[in-house]
Symmetry: C2
Subunit: 355 residues, 2 copies
């Protein structure tokens, strides 16, 4: 059980990127302060946080001081070292919980968990060796994708197999990391559901958004997604099932492939999600505030959609388009304050309101 | 002319209250940092600012260091000592400009300025002595209101005269401060226009909102205001006239009385305004971002209204209603992080979206 945080309470956030930045703003809107823990200097979230600790995840003293200085701890990314969480957890509650993190940190654990809930996932196999891969190729075949079990994001740590000949190169790409082979899913589209659960078990879902990727990175999310009413309901029920099974507190992102046979769960992320950024300009309560409400023990907010929105990520050189975008009607810019423009780096996003 | 500020630039804000807090959030959304200058400890804006200077407006060294650390200076309240502005202005541009401040800091100067633009104001007279008041009562009569020329806000520094008998008490209330006597205006409602002007002279206005006060403090603002199309247009043209006359850069609040004979200008505020808070949940670009855009030399944003909104201030004990408000549909809470609840203190506001 989480106590209800009062005005002026401090929320600790592990990770100081753009998600931590937007969580900080949402926390402030509800009268809370944030304290960011981040190894890198000048993280985006520092611009809007009350306090920042610059230290590594192996700095036990810094972790203890951080945990003691805050009222509850959350995170903006799932790849936090277990040892750091062990230190924090002796002092403060972490939301979402360790089980949610453990499950989503490892593709194999995640897929096994989802199958256990009778949710459909792509055919998969644990790959620890060349022999494993050879065996798995017999059942899963090609096309398929070899993915590292851990630490993958934005298409990193993935290698496609179009034929059995690609196996040696794919295995080499894994650089010895434990991996899973995933069968190729012939999907018509990808949607995601951003869902939240409170400590009392209340669940709220935002409308599913339809995602388009480019070069392995999310390019746009469009709401409403092109889904039948029954699929829309399925998506929400699946998200709720996952949240309940994990006794989850906070916001969870669920990526779903749409196939003629229904949904296949691609992956889950135990945090606010890039595909939920549209909520900032389409709902009274956005995903960031919903997460803060959940972990603060507040009632979940009204996340019903009042506008159709297309969210587009601004990546690398897309920043050159900002002067034009700034003039465009019905267009809300959200920049992350990053001064170092790099190819593939998420610099901001834009929500275009359709009416 | 203002240079266009680039991502990562720092905006200096004089004053660390809730307006500075919400300006900081808007600045972050456009990729800027903020630096707050505020004499009081732990101001609301500090929770979301990149940097805070805690120093008095008479601390020349602190003012110089502040000005040197930022790229442009703005403010959240109009009663900044002239000497502080003199120091800053030798180092950095201040938006809105000194003329706008000078005009709005003094009720007499303001009313004279507005009359010079052929805008209607309440009958008024300069009151420096008991004799002045006696003279003025002859022409302006009762009911009327005696107001300090400077430093009044939220009904403070005001005294009503229902009959000539009230004159001595009213004068005493001024405690020797220069004052103006204002004739009572028989108005049907009060509306305000939040308008913005960019360095290139571009002007944008938000829809007028209708204000209801309680105990001299703004209670609610409702959009759309109950105004004819022609009055709506008048309001916008009047705001534009004021902005152009002052060669203004930033957001200006204009309070107007609605009378059977048209508008009477009550007062202008050279800053974002409480009656513009509805824009946070009714427009793609809110008043805070519009102000930041203007002073950063960006194009003004799209402030067209996409929803009807009632903004209600949460004052003092209204904070007890937060748990209920948090559950309410279509309701966006905006709390200022103030832990010290006092009667008459603005603690937050709520935007209720009507659909």
């Amino acid at each position: 059980m989480t106590d209800t945080l009062a005005t002026g309470a401090t929320i600790g956030i592990l990770g100081g990127g753009q998600l931590g930045r937007m969580l900080s703003v949402a926390a402030a809107r509800l009268g809370f302060r944030t304290h960011i823990f981040e190894p890198g200097a000048n993280p985006p979230a520092a611009d809007v946080a009350h306090h920042v600790t610059t230290a590594g995840y192996d700095d036990i003293d810094a972790l203890k001081a951080f945990a003691n200085a805050v009222d509850v701890v959350t995170y903006e990314f799932e790849n936090i070292p277990t040892e750091a969480l062990d230190v924090i957890e002796t002092i403060r509650t972490i939301h979402p919980n360790r089980e949610a993190l453990r499950t989503s940190q490892d593709r194999l654990t995640e897929k096994t968990f989802l199958e256990g809930l009778d949710l459909r996932v792509a055919p998969f196999a644990d790959i620890a060796s060349a022999a494993d891969l050879e065996d798995a190729m017999q059942t899963i075949g090609t096309p398929s994708i070899l993915k590292t079990r851990r630490f993958g994001y934005d298409g990193k740590g993935q290698s496609r197999l179009l034929s059995a000949d690609d196996a040696p190169t794919a295995l080499e790409d894994m650089a010895g990391s434990p991996a899973v082979l995933e069968g190729f899913v012939n999907f018509t589209s990808e949607v995601s559901v951003i869902a939240a659960r409170s400590p009392s078990g209340e669940v709220a879902c935002f409308d599913p958004g339809e995602n388009v990727h480019r070069d392995g990175i999310l390019h746009t999310t469009t709401v409403p997604a092109n889904l039948s009413a029954s699929l829309r309901m399925d998506a929400v029920l699946m998200a709720a099932k996952i949240l309940n099974a994990l006794d989850y507190v906070g916001v969870l992102g669920v990526e779903l492939f749409v196939t003629p046979q229904g949904f296949i769960v691609n992956e889950i992320a135990p945090r606010v999600h890039n595909s939920g950024h549209w909520t900032q300009n389409g709902c009274a309560i956005d995903q960031f505030e919903q997460h803060i409400r959940a972990i603060a023990g507040w009632p979940l907010g009204d996340g019903s959609r009042y506008a159709d929105v297309v969210m587009e990520n601004l990546i690398g050189d897309d920043m050159d388009r900002v002067p034009e975008l700034a003039k465009q009607r019905d267009t809300a810019l959200h920049l992350y304050g990053k001064t170092d423009v790099k190819a593939g780096r998420k610099m901001g996003h834009v929500n275009i309101i359709k009416r």
